[in-house]
């Protein structure tokens, strides 16, 4: 069994779990004007930006001149909180790993610096942290995690895959403890690219709404500390949740679009239920991928309809709170899921007014309190057809 003993998160809705929870409870979205990212799209789009400059993030981390780029600092802050939350005092006491996901890596800085660097070639801060794995190496080193360190890059399902790998390493007694999740910072490259694919909404996104126009980009990082049963018992810990199920499958349909009937999503959800040994009617809530694009929401709705049929549980996408945080999305949403279980609350799918015409599914649109939540399904589907689903259960 794999236990979640710590959570850490930083996103547009808060710099830690406590602030995140406040925002969720007050239905306060983090999506708004772009303040820190210097992009020509600044005034035309909204995003879920972490409301701290690079310098401020360094200050929050208690560092100075670290040469840690934005993705790394976000990762470090969330990891720090997760480790503290898990009560980890000495990282070396157990076999510990760090598996992190990112798509942006150091692009947020190299895109600003590379022209000058090519012309003048003096060493510049951040130039050597472009590499996607740099953030994982830097953060693991910072916390003294050495037993297993790697980086996963599978687009929007990356953090879920990091979580899955962590669970497998614990279940197979390769590690006792593993910090898993992801981090992505906003950058011009991503903005420009998603704009080119015409899947950005210039206004606040509307997941699962019939008039949805696309996604809002977001940034952030989140990590879970997963521990084995042995460690939990030995240290007399009270886990926050159990990671009871996980599944991954390839949609094998298109590089960036999901199949109309959500085959990949269906397969991933199915596998997660099998691993958790749960029938669909045992799921109490689904934290959907729900990006707000025409394609994803239809495809995901079709998959959910096919699996759950008459037993459709309440579901919501929380991306109208945080934006789509890309490689960090699955871990950010895993933390939100765990908060949901702890608080017995289902967080709403904000900005929803009109049901989708091609389905009879309606998300939860207002805060639901005092709900008995035993099992939650969390979906994350990435470009490249990479579909992942996780199931978290009450301890």
């Amino acid at each position: 069994m794999v236990f979640v003993t710590g959570i850490g998160i930083i996103s547009a809705i808060g710099k830690n779990a406590s602030e995140t929870l406040s925002s969720l409870l007050e239905s306060r979205t983090g999506i708004g004007k772009i303040n820190h990212l210097q992009t020509i799209h600044k005034d035309n789009y909204v995003a879920g930006e972490v409301n701290y400059s690079l310098q401020e993030l360094e200050n929050l981390a208690g560092l100075k001149n670290s040469n840690y780029n934005r993705t790394t600092l976000l990762s470090l802050l969330a990891t720090q909180e997760a480790l503290e939350n898990a009560g980890v005092k000495d990282i070396t006491v157990h076999r510990t790993g760090f598996i992190s996901a990112s798509s942006v890596g150091g692009m947020c800085h190299s895109e600003l610096l590379y022209k000058d660097f090519l012309e003048h070639k003096p060493y510049t801060n951040f130039i050597d942290t472009h590499y996607t794995g740099a953030h994982a190496t830097d953060v693991a080193k910072h916390f003294g995690i050495t037993d297993y360190v790697t980086t996963i890059s599978t687009a929007c399902s990356s953090a879920a895959n990091a979580i899955m790998l962590g669970a497998r390493l614990i279940n197979n007694n390769i590690l006792d403890r593993v910090v898993v999740g992801g981090s992505d910072a906003l950058c011009k490259f991503t903005f420009n690219g998603f704009n080119t694919l015409m899947i950005l909404d210039k206004e606040w996104c509307k997941p699962f709404d019939n008039n949805r126009k696309g996604l809002n980009l977001g940034e952030g990082a989140a990590y879970l500390v997963l521990e084995s049963e042995r460690v939990v018992k030995a240290e007399n810990k009270k886990p926050l949740a159990i990671l009871s199920g996980y599944g991954n499958a390839n949609d094998a349909y298109h590089q960036t679009a999901s199949s109309p009937d959500g085959q990949g999503a269906y397969a991933a959800i199915q596998k997660a239920l099998e691993v958790a040994n749960l029938s669909p009617n045992k799921i109490d809530y689904i934290n959907a991928h729900g990006t707000g694009t025409a394609n994803n929401d239809s495809s995901e709705a079709a998959a959910m309809q096919n699996i759950f049929k008459q037993n459709m549980p309440p579901f919501s996408s929380t991306k109208a709170f945080t934006g789509h945080t890309l490689a960090a999305a699955a871990s950010i949403e895993a933390v939100i899921t765990i908060l949901s279980i702890q608080q017995k609350i289902i967080f709403p799918n904000l900005n929803y007014t009109t049901p989708m015409q091609d389905t009879s599914l309606f998300p939860v649109t207002s805060l639901q309190k005092n709900i008995e939540i035993n099992h939650v399904l969390s979906n994350s589907f990435g470009f490249g057809g990479n579909c992942s689903s996780l199931i978290f259960s009450k301890n």
Binding site: S103, G105, M107, E111, Y131, T132, G133, T150, T151, I152, S153, T154, A155, N161, L165, R168, L169, N172, I174, K188, F189, N192, G193, N195, T196, L197, M198, N248, A249, N250, D251, A252, Y253, H254, Q255, T256, Q263, G264, A267, G382, F383, G384, G385, N386
Partner: protein
């Protein structure tokens, strides 16, 4: 016990399958030219190939001799996993895309600015719907791949694994197919045992 049933390699304008050289181009040809020549050598009829970036082309070419083979095709597509890795992520395409950003950004280039799109392309062509992952590592890591593949084989029947890397001057592809039992008992002796040593040997030879 798990075995490596088949492997391919692309390096220095050469394509090898199970240790045999099956395609080769002049040294002077740049690697993108070689990838297109290899497409012709393999007699592939797949127009989508020409829309792909070099990383995806590399993956499709390395995967083809393996997946078109009886040894691998007998495994269920739903239970075949794909685990790939590299150090450069999608850097070459990131650079190409960034050059288009100043006037007419190219959507078809942006599609390939993620390293795992190649797993998507292989999955689409061969209708493989099992698990898939992509690791970013500073160098080829046989231990990581071996370890992860063995974990996957607890639930999957077979895994296509390897390393696909491109940079400005060269590309490097090494894919191999691992399964729990040899496909054909008579030929068992031809199959290589799956362990980090044998993987490293195949990679470096």
């Amino acid at each position: 016990m798990s075995y490596i049933l088949s492997h391919t390699k692309i390096k220095n304008n050469c394509l090898w399958h199970d240790g045999k050289l099956i395609a080769q181009s002049e040294d002077t040809l740049n690697y993108t030219g070689f990838l297109e020549e290899a497409y012709k050598f393999l007699n592939l009829s797949y127009p989508k190939f020409f829309k792909m970036d070099a990383l995806s082309k590399l993956g499709i070419l390395c995967a083809e001799p393996i997946l078109a083979n009886k040894n691998s095709s007998q495994f269920s597509k739903e239970k075949t996993a794909i685990v790939l890795s590299n150090s450069n992520s999608s850097l070459q395409t990131d650079i190409a895309y960034s050059k288009t950003m100043s006037d007419f950004p190219s959507p078809s280039l942006f599609v390939y600015t993620l390293p795992n799109i190649v797993t998507g392309e292989i999955s689409i062509k061969h209708k493989i719907t099992g698990e898939n992952a992509f690791f970013i590592e500073p160098a080829f890591n046989a231990d990581l791949l071996h370890n992860y593949t063995e974990l996957l084989l607890q639930e999957s029947d077979a895994v296509l694994c390897g390393w696909l890397n491109t940079d400005e001057k060269a590309c490097e592809g090494f894919l191999y197919f691992v399964a729990k039992q040899p496909a054909n008992d008579e030929k068992k002796i031809n199959f290589i045992k799956h362990n980090p040593n044998s993987i490293t040997q195949l990679y470096t030879n």
